[in-house]
Structure formats: structure tokens, C-alpha cells
């Protein structure tokens, strides 16, 4: 095996202290990279409690932050569970710069950049790989110090998180600067690549698409039996405007009018949670749509496998790993056309997120026509066979090579 480029990777979260897609993606990606022979230094902005054998983790908690808080990411960018730190990031993502404690945000990001710079001094590597805007200032500093090629990886943009382009201009600028400084940019999907081109004005030739892979799931998961044989439709994700949870309620209303025994389950938490509960009640859905709270591990698998249909009606979804997980659990998936995962899961039912009429028809036909549902499940499984981290890091390897060539002129 030829010598593979050594990677200095700047992260923000990693399992078990992850709140969503970014941590999971970093795990799958680094494991596959390590198997392919890449040496990886991986930095984290908090005390890392896990144990990792495939790479060197450089946990670097903010010395000014209290110990208990330094055990997890300063803000969980992709979650909305109830800790105080997460509230501040949620505020950041939702309210923009007007109300957010921006000084805090900048402090954390800048302080991380300085710590990462120091770590980089004592390591040797060929390429810098940074995940999402929170790590970009650190990446740019190391890039400036070392002159090594910089690959910035976009898993999610402010434009997705705050629909309508009303997100934080501070964050959007951080995203844009990181991409401009980069030798090469990776988008998690062609859908995201188009956003980077149209909304951020990034040169299209500089952006490559590397879809996430998914780890094959163990078949040991006990078949979850709950709620009898009632037809069940599930939503799983942050309860925010981005995720289309109100569209899910509209579908629930239409479907249960025709099929009153159908049960809709919403798993997740987020800034629209209370609003959605009130809306759910006002729509008369109290006994039709139940809220499971934030689920993980076994319960997450139980819900994905028990559901008869899974819907991801996001207004804008850079990737959408959870749709792949639902497909893995042999559940037919309905996804928004505005999603990256649609590119790797073509067998999923793909609809406009706003077209709740069609979405309701699709749910009803999947619930009633079990043969059609079985066909979709089988096709989804065929799609999944291509969605491996092995395939992803082959593309990633080419990006590294291209970046290395780019800097060498």
C-alpha cells in the first residue's frame, strides 16, 4: 500500500459526546481512513472521555471553562437537548447576532483556534481537514502557520439551519471565509454543493461532493414490539423549522382522518417543541401524534424498526443520515427533495416538503399496500449497499491528492 497522506483533522464533537450527524460522520470517516492507512490527528474542544484506537485524539478543553462543562462540546451544534450550553448555541442559530451572546461564541471559536494551533506545532501531517464552521478559524490558523493544504468539509450550513436566509451573518461569514481560504471544499451532497455555489459564491470547480457512508447495522436489534399492530409513522430529528415538523403534523392530520388508528410518533427535541405541542393539540391530534422526547441507542433503533413509514420532510437537509438508518431498519422512507440523502437513496419516495397532500397519499399507500412497501424496502436495501464509508473515503482520498497537488502547484 502506498504511503497515504497523514491528516490533521479538526473536529467539534465525537461519539459518545455527539448530538447528531457530525460526530457520527467523523467516526465513520476516520475509522475508514485509518483502515486505508491514513494516520490521523484529531482535535476536540473538550475533555474526551471515550477511548479510540484508530487515531490520535487531542482533547483540548477550554481552560477558562468549568470542568463539568468541559466534558462535552461547548455547544452541541446539531442537537437541542436541554443543557444550558446547548441553549446558547440554539439561541445562536435561531436568533442570529442580534440576541445571541456573540462574544461567547467568538471567544469559544477563537480560543479553540489558539489551542489547535499549539497542538499542530508538535505534529507532522500532510493535509488539514476541518469540519464545519466552528473549526474553520482553527483550520485557517494552522493553514497559515504550516502552509499545508486545507480541506474544509461542509456538513451543514447556516442557510439550512435557518430557512429563509435569516441566519446569523457572523456564522455565514465564518463559513464563507473558511471555504474561501480552503485549498478544496467538500460538500456532503450535491444539494449542499449547489447551496455553496449559489448562496456563498464558492467556485464550483473547488467543491467536490463526498456523501457520508453508513456503518452496516447489526442485525441483533430486537424487533421492537409496541403499540400493537397499529400503523405507525415516525419523525426523528430536531424539532426546528428546518426539519419540517409542521409538515409532519399536517400529514398526520390528513392520514388520521382517513385511517384513525394510525399512530404518528415524533422523536426529538428543539426550539419549536412547545410550539409544536400546542399546534398538535389545536389540530385535534392529541391521541394521534405522540412525542417520544429525545431518543438514542436502543430506543432510536426500536422506533426506526417498528415504524411502518418514516418521513423526513426537511425544508433543507444537507444530508439526512437518519433516513438511511430508517432504510437500514427495513422501513419505507419518504424524504424531502431538498435533501442530500435523496442522491444516495433514490428508491425512497421523494416529494416536495410543502406538498403534504402528496405526502399523505404516499403514507396511505405505503400503509395500505404492503406489497409496494416491501418493494420499496428491498430497493432501499440495494441503494444502501453502495452507501459505505469505503466508497466515501475513496473520493476523499482523491480530494486529498488534488489538494496536495494544488499546493505544490
Amino acid at each position: 500500500m502506498p504511503q497515504q497522506p497523514s491528516v490533521f483533522m479538526i473536529g467539534w464533537e465525537y461519539p459518545p459526546h455527539n448530538s447528531g450527524g457530525l460526530g457520527v460522520a467523523c467516526q465513520g470517516m476516520t475509522e475508514a481512513l485509518a483502515s486505508a492507512g491514513h494516520h490521523i490527528n484529531f482535535t476536540l474542544p473538550y475533555q474526551f472521555a471515550g477511548s479510540v484506537g484508530h487515531m490520535s485524539v487531542h482533547a483540548s478543553p477550554d481552560p477558562t471553562v468549568r470542568k463539568s462543562q468541559a466534558q462535552s462540546p461547548p455547544w452541541n451544534a446539531y442537537s437541542a437537548s436541554s443543557s444550558i450550553q446547548q441553549v446558547s448555541l440554539r439561541a445562536a442559530f435561531v436568533s442570529g447576532v442580534d440576541t445571541l451572546p456573540q462574544a461567547d461564541l467568538e471567544h469559544h471559536v477563537e480560543s479553540y483556534a489558539q489551542r489547535v494551533q499549539k497542538i499542530a506545532h508538535s505534529q507532522s501531517f500532510d493535509v488539514i481537514h476541518a469540519h464545519d464552521w466552528l473549526s474553520f478559524p482553527a483550520a485557517m490558523a494552522v493553514h497559515a502557520d504550516t502552509g499545508k493544504p486545507l480541506v474544509t468539509h461542509i456538513h451543514s450550513t447556516e442557510y439550512d439551519r435557518i430557512p429563509g436566509g435569516n441566519g446569523s451573518s457572523y456564522i455565514m461569514q465564518a463559513e464563507q471565509r473558511g471555504m474561501q481560504a480552503a485549498t478544496h471544499v467538500i460538500a456532503v451532497s450535491e444539494y449542499t454543493r449547489q447551496i455553496l455555489i449559489k448562496q456563498y459564491g464558492i467556485n464550483p470547480t473547488k467543491i467536490s461532493v463526498v456523501h457520508n457512508g453508513i456503518a452496516p447495522h447489526s442485525t441483533q436489534v430486537a424487533q421492537a414490539q409496541f403499540a400493537g399492530r397499529k400503523p405507525m409513522v415516525a419523525f426523528m430529528g430536531r424539532i426546528t423549522g428546518q426539519k419540517g415538523v409542521h409538515q409532519f403534523l399536517e400529514v398526520a392530520k390528513r392520514v388520521t382522518t382517513i385511517l384513525p388508528e394510525a399512530l404518528f410518533v415524533i422523536a426529538g427535541n428543539g426550539d419549536l417543541y412547545h410550539n409544536v405541542l400546542l399546534h398538535n393539540a389545536a389540530a385535534g391530534l392529541s391521541a394521534h401524534v405522540l412525542f417520544a422526547g429525545f431518543v438514542r441507542d436502543r430506543q432510536k433503533q426500536q422506533l426506526l424498526s417498528r415504524a411502518d413509514v418514516f418521513i423526513m420532510p426537511s425544508l433543507s437537509e444537507p444530508f439526512g443520515l437518519v433516513a438511511l438508518e430508517a432504510a437500514q431498519h427495513n422501513t419505507p422512507v419518504i424524504i424531502s427533495k431538498n435533501s442530500g440523502v435523496a442522491e444516495v437513496l433514490p428508491s425512497a419516495t421523494q416529494l416536495d416538503y410543502w406538498d403534504t397532500d402528496k405526502m399523505s397519499e404516499a403514507v396511505l399507500s405505503l400503509l395500505k399496500d404492503r406489497e409496494a412497501a416491501q418493494l420499496q424496502i428491498a430497493s432501499q436495501q440495494r441503494d444502501l449497499s453502495h452507501v459505505t464509508w469505503q466508497n466515501s473515503i475513496e473520493k476523499l482520498g482523491s480530494v486529498y491528492k488534488r489538494a496536495l497537488l494544488g499546493t505544490h502547484g
Binding site: 409496541f226 400546542l278 391521541a287 412525542f291
Partner: protein
């Protein structure tokens, strides 16, 4: 001095356990094991000392009388968790100086949702009082003293001679609250109205150090009572748990109550009465001649506005109640469909009991999102971190029951 009528309300709900979507359909337990712990805590702080004090007053003074309302769900928990409370209550009733009032067994809002269900629940409560105390009440108090004109008709049709409710200024229209009124319509049901200021002086303000009258002595309170004319009736209605639980023993609430009653009894001009003592002597003509208390929209004794928004205001409360009562038709007609003989099956009894325990008004009170002056009171009583969790949790139990009923 006016007549004084004491009435105390004893109630503990079956609070829900934490519900779990993943347990749906597994006949899991709806109600919390904490109920026993909470009940026993209140037994120690309030039920035992206050019931003992009432018994001592009854035994020492034949003139001492009071009225109690005991919800069915309170009595069930007393039987199970603190039989000594039941024994004390039986001793009290046996003195003949304590009047028991009728109400809905499960402390529900059925009066606003279903006359048929309301009648059934009142009947169940009557049966329970007969069984435990060999007692038949003649006067009615609705859950949280909720009242409107239609409820007056419903209660009159059940044969009760009167009803207790709140004096709400917007319907009293400047008239005194210290006299008898009657319902609108031909039934002319006599109504006893709560004297809110004097009742709340004890129930809410007694231990408030910011209150200008703190610390309140029995002597001062007696002077306030003495301001009323002989033909007036002062209705002092409050939660029984005021004594020892809302107002702890160290506030002096027990000795205040004891001294006040001893002074009242010693005062020849004063007279303690119960609702039926006031209402039984009334002739039909006297009843019809009473001034009318016209209440077109529901009132209650709760919160600043004395309306029903503590239980039915936001969409969560409205829909939870609507969906729960939507089960009535199917759940009450189950035996005919599930059993050829038409007998009530054990499963049906269990489902009805679950359904009625879910109707207890406290579940909807916990979902209240009013956070002005009333928010503190709501938070004090709620086992949930917030009203949204109360709704989320309730809906899972509601769905589970709904699925079982429709099986």
C-alpha cells in the same frame, strides 16, 4: 354576629407515572407509585392532626359543626395508604356534627362535558359514602366549585337541596355574598357562595409575612366576623390541606383554628352551621323568593379570575379533554359489544376506572400555561417540570387507553 359555615375539601389525585411511547400496548401502569408517598406525607402533616383536632372540637362542643367533601379518589387512597384516616373520618361522621357533601367521585370536569357521565360519577360517589359512612348527603359541591346555570339544573334534577359555589363579582353585581341565592329557572336550587376574602385570609394569606395583617390572631379574625349582621351567612370554604400542608403547623394554623372556634362557641351571638342546617328548613316559597344568581359562563373558586381557565384554556387542555370525553360512547357501551350476557366484565371495569381516573381535573390543571399571579400556585401543585410535559405524558396514557378500548 352572622352565622359561620366551615367547609373543607379533601382531595388527592392519582398522579400519572412517567409514560413511555415504547410501552404502548403493554398494559403498563398509568399511575405513579409516588402517590402513596405523597399521600402519607400529607397524612402526617395535615390529615391526622386536623382530623384529630376536628374530632376533639366535636367531642368537647356539641355546637361545633362543619362540612367536608371527600373525593372518591381521596377515599380510595386513604383506604389503601392510610386506613387510620378513614377511621378518624368515620368517628367524625358518627358524632353527627360533620356534614358530608356530594360531588363527582373522580373530581372531574364531567359537568362541562357530559351530563350522563356526570350523573354516573355523582351516583358512584353517593354509593361510596353510603358504603363507608352509611351517609347520604343532601347538598352538592362540584369539582373546584365549578358552576354555571346548566349545572344548577343538573344538580337539582339529581334531588339535591343546594349547592356550594364561588361568589364572583361579575355575576353578583354588587350584591352581598353573605346571603343565600338561588339558581335561575324553575328548580330554584339554593346556592351558598364562598366568602372569598375571609376564606383566603386563612387559606392563602395566613402565613404571608408581607401581608399587612400578619400575624393574624383568632381575636382579630373574630372581630372581622363580628362586623356582619345576624342575618348574614359567612361561608368559609377552603382546601382541608390548608391546615398543616399549605400552612405548616409551625405557622400556628392549628392553634389559630382551635382558638377561633372556641371563641365562636363561647360567643352567644355566634352560630356555627352546615349547609344542610341552613337549607333544610327552607320552604318551596322561601326558595323561590331567594335572589337569583345568574351565571351564564362557568365559574370556579380557582385563580384570580375565578373562571375555568386553570383547566380549560390552552389547546393542550382543550384537546386532551375533548379526546378523553370522545371515548365516552364506546367505553360506556362496551359490555354489550364484548359480552353476550350484557354483564360488566372485569376488563370493562378496569377500562372505565382508568378512563375516569384520567378525567380527574388535576391532570388538566398541570397543563395550564398561565404564568401570572396564578403560576406559582399551579407550580406548587404540579408534579411536572412544565405544562408541556404534563400534556406529553397525559397523551401517551390517553392513546394507550384509547387503543385498549377500541381493541
Amino acid at each position: 354576629m352572622a352565622k359561620v359555615c366551615w367547609y373543607f375539601h379533601l382531595h388527592q389525585p392519582f398522579r400519572l407515572a412517567a409514560q413511555d411511547v415504547f410501552s404502548l400496548g403493554k398494559n403498563h401502569e398509568y399511575f405513579s407509585a409516588d402517590n402513596a408517598v405523597i399521600f402519607q406525607k400529607v397524612v402526617k402533616k395535615s390529615y391526622l392532626p386536623m382530623l384529630t383536632l376536628l374530632l376533639e372540637l366535636c367531642q368537647a362542643h356539641p355546637q361545633f359543626v362543619c362540612a367536608l367533601s371527600l373525593t372518591g379518589v381521596f377515599l380510595e387512597q386513604a383506604s389503601e395508604y392510610a386506613p387510620e384516616v378513614l377511621v378518624l373520618l368515620q368517628q367524625l361522621v358518627a358524632t353527627g356534627q360533620v356534614e358530608l357533601l356530594a360531588e363527582t367521585y373522580h373530581h372531574t370536569l364531567a359537568s362541562l362535558y357530559s351530563t350522563q357521565e356526570f350523573n354516573v360519577q355523582v351516583h358512584h360517589h353517593l354509593q361510596l359514602l353510603d358504603q363507608l359512612f352509611a351517609y347520604t348527603p343532601t347538598v352538592f359541591r362540584n369539582t373546584e366549585l365549578i358552576y354555571q346555570n346548566e349545572i344548577g339544573s343538573m344538580v337539582a334534577q339529581l334531588g339535591f337541596i343546594g349547592l356550594l359555589t364561588e361568589a364572583v363579582p361579575r355575576y353578583l353585581d354588587g350584591r352581598e355574598k353573605t346571603r343565600l341565592y338561588r339558581s335561575v329557572g324553575d328548580e330554584a336550587l339554593p346556592l351558598l357562595l364562598k366568602q372569598a376574602e375571609l376564606s383566603d385570609d386563612i387559606a392563602f394569606r395566613f402565613s404571608d409575612k408581607q401581608w399587612s395583617q400578619y400575624p393574624l390572631t383568632a381575636q382579630t379574625y373574630l372581630e372581622w366576623l363580628d362586623n356582619y349582621r345576624d342575618d348574614e351567612l359567612i361561608n368559609l370554604f377552603m382546601d382541608f390541606e390548608t391546615f398543616g400542608e399549605h400552612q405548616w403547623a409551625d405557622t400556628g394554623i392549628f392553634s389559630f383554628f382551635q382558638s377561633l372556634n372556641e371563641m365562636l362557641i363561647a360567643n352567644k351571638a355566634a352560630q356555627l352551621v352546615t349547609p344542610s342546617m341552613v337549607l333544610t328548613p327552607l320552604t318551596k316559597k322561601q326558595r323561590c323568593d331567594l335572589p337569583v344568581y345568574d351565571v351564564p359562563e362557568p365559574i370556579s373558586w380557582a385563580d384570580v379570575d375565578r373562571d375555568i381557565t386553570a383547566w380549560i384554556e390552552n389547546s393542550m387542555q382543550q384537546d386532551a379533554l375533548k379526546q378523553l370525553y370522545a371515548l365516552e360512547k364506546i367505553i360506556t357501551t362496551l359490555p354489550r359489544s364484548s359480552s353476550a350476557k350484557g354483564s360488566v366484565t372485569a376488563k370493562h371495569i378496569e377500562l372505565l376506572s382508568l378512563w375516569r381516573n384520567l378525567q380527574t381535573s388535576d391532570h388538566f390543571y398541570y397543563m395550564c400555561t398561565k404564568w401570572a399571579a396564578d403560576g406559582d400556585v399551579h407550580a406548587y401543585f404540579s408534579p411536572y417540570q412544565d405544562p408541556y410535559e404534563a400534556y406529553r405524558n397525559f397523551c401517551i396514557a390517553l392513546r394507550d387507553l384509547s387503543d385498549r378500548v377500541k381493541q
